[in-house]
């Protein structure tokens, strides 16, 4: 699919942020991690678009929305290759990559049903550990068990 065609599928924005190169199967997780479902701004997204790198990718365009690094980096766990384009007046004025944070708080559920965070009113904290060159693992601060970001449930 040509770039021209993609632009037709997901309309352009005047000012805001475009998040590109999201793995298609994680689009809805990205939406919930960033809390886009409760945002009162114009948002368009496209999914199952062809991508050389990912096979199938998703893209989100957010009008008049800009992210702080610490917020956008939360999606690096499931979308490590995501690219941010900052748009002003229909033009890309800045490009950013996402960085995997060292510690994540209160986004994901611990995969261990016997963990205190799943049984009492305790916020989750995970340490992000390198698993291999491509992937990371989440180690629960409380029960010390590993949760795979692929299986992680977002609150």
């Amino acid at each position: 699919m040509s770039d021209q065609k993609k632009k037709l599928l997901v309309s352009a924005i005047e000012n805001g942020t475009v998040i590109d190169h999201i793995p298609a199967n994680h689009l809805f997780k990205v939406i919930s991690i960033l809390g886009l479902d409760s945002l009162k701004k114009q948002i368009t997204f496209g999914t199952n678009l062809e991508s050389k790198k990912l096979g199938h990718k998703a893209i989100i365009k957010l009008s008049e929305v800009y992210f702080k690094d610490e917020d956008i980096n939360k999606i690096a766990l499931i979308a490590p290759h995501a690219k941010l384009n900052i748009i002003h007046n229909f033009k890309v004025t800045d490009k950013r990559d996402v960085q995997v944070p060292e510690k994540i708080k209160g986004i994901a559920k611990c995969g261990n049903p016997k963990c205190i965070t799943n049984n009492d009113n305790v916020n989750t904290i995970f340490y992000v550990l390198p698993k291999d060159s491509e992937k990371v693992a989440l180690k629960c601060h409380y029960c010390e068990k590993i949760t795979d970001p692929e299986d992680m449930e977002v609150f």
Binding site: C110, C115, Y142
Partner: protein
């Protein structure tokens, strides 16, 4: 270590571990001292554990400290629906240190964050039981004279046994060679093998207890639990092939000692009890000295 909670064995450096073991050695020589006079220790056992609780209480009593607490959740306000946070916040006002056993994993770490006083984890589900690990280390050092360069055999349930995992992590500070013997379905999880590889330590895995135990300095036996098997017949078959018997010890090294966190079911035959290489009952006694050392060092008394 003063005022620092002990939740996971990884909270203690090699130096911290050595300090506790040295102190435990002092307590073994002189076990009755009035060091904990005017101190109140809270023992909160949300899950029953006779051995660990009595060992802690014996340690505190011998040092003239006082104990408040409960031995099961039935006799605590958890029955009324109180959260762990509220229980800890309350008990926090009544004592100088909390010893806690709880069935949920991570509960002890959480308690230590809520409490203003130090917390000692006496077991949080399948996660950690660091005072057991320290008493295991004490027993190993006492019988071998050192913790360095030993050949340690871990036998039984290596998949779910938390004592095995914590001991492995602690011993990896001392250039240990490990041998793992377990049934296929209870093999050591990969994350621990990776941990040893990262540290550049050697290990071997075996399915059967055979002649190779002759190289062992320490044999650490664990219980194979029925509930770990989906097929009860498989359990019956397996449990009988991981039993240590007296005649298997003939070729083993003179200095070799057999450890077991107890309770034992049948994995060590009773005919081993009289062998001078058996050490598990003394190991339980060492728990008292080790816990004296842990409590007094955290309270800043030693």
């Amino acid at each position: 270590m003063k005022n620092r909670s002990l939740i996971s064995i990884n909270d203690y450096s090699k130096e911290d571990i050595t300090k506790v073991l040295d102190l435990a050695e002092e307590f073994e020589k002189n076990p009755t001292q009035s060091l904990l006079e005017n101190k109140v220790i809270g023992t909160l056992f949300f899950e029953p554990s006779t051995r660990t609780r009595l060992s802690f209480e014996s340690a505190v009593n011998r040092l003239n400290g006082r104990i408040i607490g409960f031995a099961s959740k039935d006799s605590s306000s958890v029955q009324k629906g109180e959260s762990l946070k509220d229980t800890i916040k309350t008990v926090n006002n009544y004592c100088d240190l909390i010893v806690m056993r709880h069935p949920l994993e991570g509960s002890a770490r959480f308690a230590s964050e809520v409490a203003d006083i130090p917390v000692v984890n006496a077991g949080d589900g399948a996660n950690q039981h660091p005072t057991q690990t320290l008493l295991d280390l004490y027993s190993i050092r006492k019988t071998q004279g050192t913790l360095e360069n030993l050949n340690v055999f871990l036998i039984g349930d290596l998949k779910y046994g938390r004592t095995v995992h914590s001991l492995l992590m602690a011993m990896s500070n001392f250039n240990t060679t490990f041998n793992f013997i377990s049934p296929e379905e209870l093999k050591l999880p990969d994350e621990y093998k990776m941990y040893l590889q990262d540290k550049g330590l050697e290990y071997e895995e075996h399915i059967d207890i055979t002649d190779n135990i002759n190289n062992a300095d320490i044999i650490y036996m664990t219980r194979i639990q029925r509930e770990r098997f989906s097929d009860p017949m498989e359990y019956e078959k397996t449990k009988n092939s991981y039993v240590l018997k007296n005649d298997m010890l003939d070729g083993t090294k003179e200095n070799m000692k057999i450890l077991h966190p107890l309770p034992r079911v049948n994995e060590i035959h009773e005919d081993v009890d009289e062998n001078k290489k058996s050490y598990y009952f003394t190991q339980a006694l060492n728990g008292v000295y080790t816990r004296m050392a842990i409590i007094t060092s955290i309270l800043g008394i030693k």
